[in-house]
């Protein structure tokens, strides 16, 4: 059942796992962090007209705020702007280094500690599932955990005789941790954002597998009523998580 490679007919064999966690694009990251504070911008011209339109609620035109006209040529001293969060532009959280495959999944809150097998597509287009009820599997047609994009890991809720690896997935709550270990030794920490169940007949393919701007993880199992005639649960439970940290 569990195949070594990606079997999807649409997978492009020339583009298997991308070589690095960062995209092959020119830098999207800031070239330097923590700019040196340049020379004080020229002070003088007590230039304090009415508030610029959109910031009309800027807690009153306090004279305490900087009165410099600013400069486009050198970094300035960050102006005092009461009521504002002041900080650097947000950077993307993504795992650096190689994009090697995930090998292990640990979810302390629900007692999951399992190896990860590799999943592809079945000939009819559905997703393969782990052949062993104790294993979870990573969908190799999607990004590697830690890369930008939705990494998908599936596991059974039960076998024919009892609970399987994701039996307690339903207990996961927002804020709880999901840990993924990759073959390159990277240990990724994801935090649960939400859990939702969907009828399989209306599975939200775009929300689970579609583009996202950050490194994300989805854990999928079955839930709801069991349709004995079809030998299948009617619903899927999807846990959405985001990358919160990387350790080696």
């Amino acid at each position: 059942m569990v195949l070594g490679g990606c079997t999807g007919a649409v997978d492009n064999p020339e583009h298997p796992d991308p070589p690095s966690a960062t995209l092959p694009l020119q830098g999207t990251q800031r070239p330097e962090v923590g700019l040196p504070h340049g020379p004080e911008p020229e002070v003088g011209s007590p230039h304090a007209p009415a508030l610029g339109g959109g910031l009309a609620h800027a807690s009153g035109p306090t004279a305490a705020a900087g009165s410099a006209a600013g400069s486009f040529d050198v970094p300035g001293v960050p102006p005092r702007a009461p009521g504002f969060e002041v900080g650097a532009l947000p950077d993307r959280v993504a795992a650096p280094g190689s994009a090697s495959v995930p090998v292990r999944l640990v979810i302390p809150e629900i007692g999951v500690a399992t190896r990860l097998v590799r999943l592809g597509l079945e000939p009819e287009g559905g997703m393969q599932v782990p052949g062993n009820f104790g294993d979870a599997g990573w969908f190799a047609g999607g990004p590697v955990p830690g890369q930008v994009g939705p990494a998908v890991i599936a596991g059974h809720v039960d076998s024919k005789t009892g609970p399987a690896v994701f039996y307690r997935l339903r207990e996961l709550r927002p804020g709880q941790a999901v840990l993924v270990e990759r073959a390159d030794g990277a240990r990724l920490r994801f935090l649960v954002e939400q859990a939702r169940s969907y009828p399989k007949a209306g599975f939200p393919t775009a929300a689970v597998f579609g583009p996202v701007p950050s490194a994300a993880l989805r854990l999928v199992t079955c839930t709801g009523d069991f349709d004995r005639a079809r030998g299948s649960y009617r619903d899927n439970l999807v846990v959405f998580a985001r990358l919160a940290g990387v350790a080696r």
């Binding site: 597509l121 047609g141 059974h156």
Partner: protein, 285 residues
């Protein structure tokens, strides 16, 4: 009649604001949740090297000092609804007149880029809607933004291949185009002419969404500057996922709740009745 309604509306809006405020963690990038939109900012003005960017949404008031040329931030989530983006020279007082002001409305579940473009004495803001819908299996999506204020309108094309954007003028974006994954030599030509103004290489992987800005001028090199919007799966499976064999499913078929409950209640009631009758008989005896 009018006033209470307005008051109620104001109260509702305030409550919504407070709720939104409480719900947002200190640093919240990631995906947009309910009622949230994703925004990011970009700086493509070559001669306004450092600027302060102000972003005010319903739930956040943010100042990013010293944003420099060719910065593209990650997305972060803010409350959907009205927002104001302002740019001032680095270090300028927040009360001073902004050099750029963009006001707009962010729709829940959507993603946006607000970019500063143009010469420093004629800066302008551009609000782009970023499309994160999946592409066809195995394909990538690419769009261009013409941030070259000093060039005439251009055609952007794969060298010896299809035109990706025709008659693109500053400061307009093209729509997203789907391309097979790969590396493309891209040419920027004067509209309708052969002369190549700028060349560059754009590499895209299947399932990804990429923006490419045509930047430069004022002494900065002219180039195609690519940055990632999002990435998805190379291909997505069809339908639900069969991750259960039913061994822990209740043995009675399907929706359990109300039906078996009624007989159970009836049986308990009957038992109580019998017990009561028996007790009374015993008492009498």
């Amino acid at each position: 009649m009018r006033r209470p309604r307005i008051a109620a509306l104001a109260a509702a809006v305030m409550t919504a604001c407070i709720l939104a405020l409480a719900a947002v963690p200190a640093s919240a990038p990631a995906e947009a949740g309910p009622g949230k939109a994703l925004v990011r900012v970009a700086h493509f003005s070559p001669d306004a090297s450092y600027v302060d960017v102000y972003m005010v949404s319903l739930n956040r008031r943010q100042l990013f000092p010293n944003v420099f040329y060719k910065s593209v931030s990650a997305y972060w989530a803010v409350a959907a609804g009205p927002f104001t983006y302002e740019v001032r020279a680095a270090g300028a007082a927040p009360e001073s007149e902004p050099v750029i002001q963009v006001k707009g409305n962010l729709a829940a579940g959507k993603a946006y880029t607000v970019a500063a473009v143009g010469r420093r004495d004629r800066l302008q803001g551009v609000l782009l809607r970023d499309d994160m819908a999946p592409s066809a299996p195995g394909k990538a999506k690419v769009r261009f933004l013409d941030a070259a204020y000093d060039l005439p309108s251009v055609d952007i094309a794969v060298a010896g291949g299809p035109v990706l954007g025709a008659e693109v003028a500053f400061p307009d974006p093209t729509g997203y185009r789907q391309l097979a994954s790969g590396r493309y030599r891209v040419e920027v030509r004067r509209s309708g002419a052969e002369a190549v103004l700028v060349k560059g290489t754009v590499a895209v992987k299947p399932g990804t969404v990429t923006s490419v800005a045509l930047v430069g001028g004022a002494g900065e090199p002219r180039e195609l500057y690519a940055f990632s919007d999002a990435a998805g799966s190379r291909s997505a499976p069809a339908g639900g996922i069969r991750t259960g064999a039913g061994g822990t499913a209740p043995s009675s078929r399907a929706s359990t709740a109300p039906v078996p409950l009624a007989p159970a209640v009836a049986m308990v009631a009957l038992a109580v009745l019998i017990a009561a009758v028996a007790t009374r008989r015993r008492a009498r005896a």
